[in-house]
Structures are given as structure tokens and as C-alpha cells.
């Protein structure tokens, strides 16, 4: 299955990269945001495959974003690669620590505990003056190994940067999905007792998944901070987490690509809805989700998977 999909993926990334140079600026900036958020969704897909839905993934998203913002603010360090790596590592560390507690819970308890943890961060951010309080603070634009593009070149560079991190994450996560730990997601969802009696700690497996999902959310948050050039406590708020869960359901857990396609469709649907029905865009989005659940219970991604399965039989 590997080589064919990898080729399709590489072609898709190349097509998006080239399209970015010719597309109107609003589409490029929309796609940049969508793909950055797609990384968070990719992390949620990993957890969802094991039957876990966190309502507080914005915790790691905000940690990634604030790490970038704070390093920029207090050290003057501007290199995007260093900043993004720092954001991802910080989020991964937080996920590792809270994972010791979170990995012991399942279902609604897992969801609510993760929500509670994200709301603690929200509370801290809102109350702390040195972290920007309710207003947050601006993020200076980054440099690319010394190169500091301006204007349109800056936006395009950011778009390509996000695209590159998405491609890298997609490859890594696709490989993870074929690993022992990755493929045990369905067994864990189906029957934890059997997994334990086969000789594997389900809690440790869930912990690993939490850290991977945390790193991806941190990566998404770090990139978003550079894209939006601003961070504020809303990045940790539960509606942000809910938005990611929304996109995950829209996208489905069938493939890695689904996370990014779903995220792009979501951002497009939202901007179109805001444009056409400024007052009722939430109703429009809700309807989209409702129709997806009714007619595509495995998400938008299942459209792609179905196409992929048809010609070759076994994909």
C-alpha cells in the first residue's frame, strides 16, 4: 500500500505548493491557517482511532503558540525553525506530564479531564499580566535561516513552511499508523482487557498517543502563532478544542490526508458561510456537520478512501 499512496501524497503537496504561488492571497492565507490547524486534527485522529476524544486539545495548541510568542518576545530569537521546534517540544513535554493522569481515563472522563486541563491554562493565561492577560500579545514575524521576506513573499514563505511541516507530519504519522503501536488503536478501542492480557499496557500506549497528538497540536499552535502574528487566551479556550473535534468528525479517521482536507473544507465552508450569511454562519456550519454525519458517517476522508480502493481492489 505504501509507495502508491506516498506518490499521490507527494503530488498533492507539490500541486498545493505550486498553486500557492498563483492563487489569490486570501486563499493562500486561508489554506495556511487550515493546514496549520490540520496538524492538530491529525493528532485528534490518532486518539480517535483508539476511541478517545479529548475536549481540551487546545491546551497543547496554546502551549505551542505561546512558546513561540514568548521566546520571540523575551529573547528576540526569530528563526522560524527554532521557534516551531521549541513550540512542538514544549507541547510534547506538557502532554507527557499531563499524560500520566489523562492516560488513566477513558470516554467522557477522559474528554472532561482534558477539557478541565485546557481551561486551567486558559485561566492562568487570562490572569497573568506577563503572559499578555486577556489581550494576549503580538508575535513578530520570523526569519528563515536569516532570510526575512516581506509582504507577499512573507505570506507565501509561511504557506510553504506550513505545507512542509504538514507533509513531514503526514509521512511520520502514516508510518506510525502501520507500526505495532499505531495499529493497536482499533484493538484498544475494541477490547482493552484482551490487549492487557496479551502483555501490553494500554495506559502506556494511550500515553504515547497523547504525546504524539500533543506534539502535533503544539506544532499547529506554533505555526498558527506565526501565521496570525498574535496569541491570546482564546487559543486555549474550550470552544477552540471543540472546533478541532468538529473538524475531526467532519474529516473522519480513515486517512492522514483526511485531516488536512477536512480542515481545508472547514475553513472554506466557514469563510463562505460568513460571507453569505454573516449572522447565521454557525447554523450553516452546523448543517454541514449534520449532513456529513448523516450521509458520510466516516467523514469527508471516506470519499477519498473509497476512490483509492476502487481501482486496485486492495489498497
Amino acid at each position: 500500500m505504501g509507495a502508491g499512496r506516498m506518490l499521490v501524497g507527494a503530488l498533492a503537496v507539490a500541486a498545493f505548493a505550486v498553486a500557492g504561488a498563483f492563487a489569490p492571497p486570501w486563499i493562500v492565507s486561508l489554506a495556511t491557517v487550515a493546514f496549520a490547524n490540520g496538524l492538530v486534527v491529525l493528532g485528534l485522529v490518532i486518539l480517535w482511532r483508539a476511541g478517545l476524544v479529548p475536549f481540551g486539545q487546545a491546551l497543547f495548541y496554546a502551549v505551542g503558540a505561546y512558546t513561540v510568542a514568548l521566546i520571540g518576545r523575551y529573547t528576540g530569537l526569530r528563526d522560524v525553525f527554532v521557534l516551531i521546534l521549541a513550540g512542538a517540544i514544549a507541547a510534547g513535554l506538557v502532554a507527557f506530564v499531563v499524560g500520566f493522569l489523562l492516560a488513566r481515563y477513558r470516554d467522557i472522563f477522559f474528554a472532561m479531564l482534558s477539557l478541565a486541563m485546557s481551561m486551567i491554562l486558559y485561566g492562568v493565561l487570562v490572569k497573568t499580566e506577563s503572559l499578555g492577560s486577556t489581550d494576549g500579545f503580538n508575535v513578530a514575524s520570523g526569519t528563515y535561516l536569516g532570510y526575512a521576506p516581506q509582504g507577499a513573499a512573507h505570506d507565501l514563505a509561511l504557506y510553504w513552511l506550513v505545507l512542509a511541516f504538514c507533509a513531514l507530519s503526514a509521512v511520520v504519522v502514516a508510518a506510525y499508523f502501520t507500526s505495532v503501536a499505531g495499529m493497536l488503536a482499533a484493538p484498544v478501542r475494541d477490547n482493552e482487557i484482551r490487549v492487557e492480557f496479551l502483555g501490553l499496557s494500554v495506559n502506556r500506549l494511550v500515553h504515547l498517543k497523547l504525546v504524539i497528538a500533543g506534539v502535533l497540536a503544539g506544532l499547529g499552535g506554533a505555526l498558527s502563532a506565526l501565521v496570525v502574528e498574535h496569541v491570546d487566551p482564546n487559543m486555549a479556550y474550550w470552544t477552540t478544542s471543540g472546533g478541532f473535534v468538529f473538524v475531526t468528525i467532519l474529516a473522519g479517521a480513515g486517512s492522514v490526508a483526511a485531516a488536512f482536507v477536512g480542515s481545508l473544507v472547514f475553513e472554506l465552508a466557514r469563510s463562505i458561510a460568513v460571507d453569505i450569511f454573516p449572522g447565521e454562519w454557525q447554523i450553516t456550519l452546523g448543517t454541514v456537520l449534520l449532513l456529513t454525519i448523516l450521509f458520510l458517517p466516516e467523514g469527508l476522508g471516506s470519499l477519498v478512501t473509497r476512490l483509492a480502493r476502487k481501482p486496485g481492489g486492495a489498497a
Partner: protein
């Protein structure tokens, strides 16, 4: 002869309820042991304690000269004691083959979770071992069926097959024939026992059907009210008057006639 499994003064209480008491026994390697007893006699409690599902209230369990009392089930599995379940524990959304692959991959793996994230599940060795187990337990015709759709007997066989990967030395089967029709019971046990004998495993199986016990067991442990009331060769243990009165429900004379 040294025992592979030694249990001393094992007891389990749930508040005022005594589920197991004063269980002391040694099981030599490669023995096939049938465990009998009425519902609530403590058979499954015993299996649960040995396999780490329940922590004993008192007593000790040694496996190959190692104290395993109170260890978590996954540690005990990795040391070499596996089990199957009264209600088959499989992964319903996966096919029979994928169930076996998951079981094999876990059994072959290391303790390092990070290493498991870097090892592909479908390695040649894993696929071959899964395939071989499916053949050994004669469920190959269901290879690609989702296990949620399997007939009861096949699901039980799959459950037992999944417990045998990773070469455990002791296998505990909790009612391998429960939920299977009378006609199929002997066939299922034939498949299981010939598969297990070929691997020199020590087997403990919980069973209600005395015919199956006397046919397949070399030794019988009879449980009543949490304690072992008879322990010996099937002919001896099943002829014990207390066993006949309390467990098999047959009159002593009738059994003697049947045995003859």
C-alpha cells in the same frame, strides 16, 4: 519433580464474601489439569488471581521459581502465563487474521513502547506466525471474517489461539466450551488440546462437562465454596463422594457404572 506453578494458602475475600480459601497446590510442567466446580465455587477467581486479574487477599503464587503474586496481568503474560476467557475476548471490528496479527505482534514485541511505535506491525515473521496459528486452530476458513460475525465456537477458538502466541508455558482456559453446542464441544476440545500438546504447554482448563474433563484432563481440581475439595487423577477425583454430591450431581453408584 519441580512444579512450574506453585500456589500456597491462596485466598480472596470481597468484604464478607470468601471467594477462595486455603488453596495450596503444585502443578508440574506439561500437565493437563481440569478444574471443576459449581458456579461461584471459586474456579474463575482462582484463574483471575493466577493471571493477575485479581490481587489475592492472602497467600502466594510462584511461577518457575519467581513470585508473581499481585503482579499486573500484562507482566504475568509476558513472563509466560496466558489465558482465554469464558466470554471470548477478541477484537470484534477486526478480521480473524488481524486479530491474530495484533496478538502476535504484541507477544513478539519488547517492553519499550517507543520501539513498538517504530516497528511495523505487519512484519514477515508476524504474518507467518499469525497464519500458522490460524491453521493450527483450524479457523482458516474464517480468516477474513470480522470477528463480530463469527459463530460462538470459532470465536472461542480465536480467543484461545490469541492466548497461545508468544509461546506461553502455562495456559489457563476459562470454560473453553461454554456457549458451544454439545455436538461441537468435543471437536473444539480436540482441536485445542492437540494444538496445545504439540507445544508442550501446561494447561489448566475450567469445565462443567464431566465427560470432557475425564477425556482430556490428567488431573482434576474440584472447587467448592472457594476451596479445593478433591485433587487427583480424573477417575479418583470424579469418584469422590463429595465431588459427586456437590459438583457433578451424580450418585456414586451411577458414576461407577458409567466408568466401567
Amino acid at each position: 519433580m519441580s512444579a512450574i506453578l506453585s500456589v500456597r494458602d491462596l485466598a480472596k475475600t470481597f468484604g464478607p464474601v470468601v471467594a477462595a480459601r486455603d488453596i495450596t497446590l503444585d502443578i508440574p510442567a506439561c500437565q493437563i489439569v481440569g478444574v471443576i466446580g459449581a458456579n461461584g465455587a471459586g474456579k474463575t477467581t482462582f484463574v483471575n488471581m493466577v493471571t493477575g486479574h485479581l490481587r489475592p487477599s492472602r497467600g502466594s503464587i510462584r511461577f518457575e521459581d519467581r513470585d508473581i503474586t499481585g503482579l499486573p496481568s500484562r507482566r504475568i503474560t509476558r513472563l509466560g502465563i496466558s489465558r482465554s476467557f469464558q466470554v471470548a475476548q477478541v477484537f470484534p471490528s477486526l478480521t480473524v487474521f488481524d486479530n491474530m496479527c495484533a496478538a502476535t505482534a504484541v507477544a513478539r514485541g519488547t517492553d519499550s513502547m517507543l520501539k513498538r511505535a517504530l516497528t511495523p506491525l505487519r512484519s514477515r515473521a508476524t504474518l507467518d506466525e499469525a497464519e500458522a496459528a490460524i491453521e493450527l486452530f483450524r479457523i482458516a476458513s474464517f480468516r477474513n471474517a470480522r470477528s463480530a460475525t463469527l459463530p460462538q465456537g470459532v470465536r472461542k477458538l480465536l480467543d484461545i489461539a490469541m492466548a497461545t502466541v508468544g509461546a506461553p508455558r502455562v495456559l489457563m482456559l476459562d470454560e473453553p466450551t461454554s456457549g458451544i453446542s454439545v455436538e461441537e464441544k468435543f471437536d473444539v476440545m480436540d482441536v485445542v488440546m492437540s494444538a496445545l500438546r504439540s507445544r508442550n504447554m501446561t494447561v489448566l482448563f475450567v469445565e462443567h462437562d464431566m465427560e470432557i474433563v475425564s477425556r482430556f484432563a490428567e488431573r482434576v481440581l474440584a472447587f467448592y465454596d472457594g476451596a479445593v475439595i478433591a485433587d487427583g487423577a480424573p477417575a479418583v477425583a470424579l469418584a469422590d463422594p463429595r465431588v459427586q454430591m456437590l459438583i457433578s450431581g451424580t450418585k456414586p453408584a451411577a458414576v461407577e457404572a458409567a466408568d466401567a
